[in-house]
């Protein structure tokens, strides 16, 4: 069974890059990608996913804020340029983090 995943990042190129890596791993299936947290939340209201690649610094809602308000979050991998954000992520029970450039 494949691991279903989504990407949340406000930079289009960052999404493309992650999508490219995901496509190389047969066990991963990319369901959708979003360039802000609100779109991701709307998607997750009607769909479920196993894994979320989440950027922290985004317009309107940050990745941290998204994590704080989600009731049943999937497994999360933080993607950020700052390692201190990555550490903050562990308080919110994330699975792992990727430091940019990825």
């Amino acid at each position: 069974m494949n691991v279903r995943c989504i990407i949340v990042d406000d930079e289009p190129l960052a999404i493309e890059k992650l999508a490219e890596y995901i496509s190389r791993i047969p066990a991963l299936e990319l369901q959708a990608s979003f360039n802000n947290a609100i779109q991701a939340m709307e998607f997750l209201r009607d769909h479920s996913t196993d894994l979320m690649f989440l950027d922290i610094q985004m317009d309107t809602f940050t990745g941290i804020q998204l994590l704080e308000i989600m009731r049943n979050p999937p497994k999360v991998v933080i993607t950020t340029a700052y390692d201190s954000f990555a550490l903050k992520g562990y308080e919110l029970d994330v699975s792992d983090y990727l430091l940019k450039p990825i």
């Binding site: 190129l13 890059k17 317009d59 940050t62 700052y82 940019k100 450039p101």
Partner: protein
Amino acid sequence: MNRQKILRFLLHLLFWVFIVVFFTFIYGVRDGNYFEIFQILLGTLPLDIMYTYFLIYALIPVFLLKKRYIWFVVLFITTFTLMVILEWTINYFFLYPSIYSDYEKWKDSIHYFSGAALMLYVSLGFVILLASAIKLVRFWMQSQQARADLEIQHRKSELAMLRSQVNPHFLFNTLNNIDALIWKDPQRASETLVKLSDMMRYFIYEATTEKVPLEKEIDYLNCFIELQRIRHKDPDSIRLSITGASDGIQIAPMLLIPFVENAFKHGVTGKHNPSISVELTVNPKEIRFDVLNYLSTRTDTVKDPGRGIGLANVRRRLSLVYPDKHRLSTVQAEDQYKVTLVISHV
């Protein structure tokens, strides 16, 4: 070092030669007995020298300059009086009888406890006053110089520190974008990398001087905006306009960019067009810089290490570099945030 020591010695020697010649003239002018006076002065000169150096190298630095004033006054008055008594005793009992040829004629008219001893107070007093004044003026000049040097050093290091705060978030995200472009559009990846290296060259090497040509700062601004456009999903809503002739104008480096960084940090793209607007207007008298962005409705921003000090830094730098030559205003109206900086460069 050695030459300095010789010079110092010669200056001290000159001082004492001057003292002896001066007093020989002052005391000898009445009776014309210059040679006898000269011999008497030489007789007590070693004591004068010893006491003067004791005063300027021991009493003044240890008590006066350390602000132990009462101790200084007490010690100074006692040692000075003892010195005068000692010199008067030597003069009266040893030097006068052996040097003055007419000593026998006037020896009964001057008593040991007469006012003549007070004369030594005045002359020794003059010597030590002169020496102390030289010492104190030199000390004061040195401390002024040291303070000025320290101030300059402090400002230099402060400026270097303020300048060096380049946003690592921007750097790593741009590297991430370039990495993505390498797969997608190698040509554009290469162009972007060149822009980034131009920027790095500017802030590492070129922006280390006090002033740079305005064109350089504009190039940097252009590169920065260009790289931001690559990061954003609607690059066309980011506007940059530069008007006026910038040639020949100098500006303190890295002053403009923090406002633009701030606009990208707090600004929301996508809702308005332009969503971020940067305008630079150069005229013969002043540089006007306007940055406009729209704020998101979110209440708090993520704490971003190494940032948030950006604007405080710029204010500090502006007050250091352009103390009375700049105006900075920030206006927030509803969701609009506008910064205007005017620097007069004449």
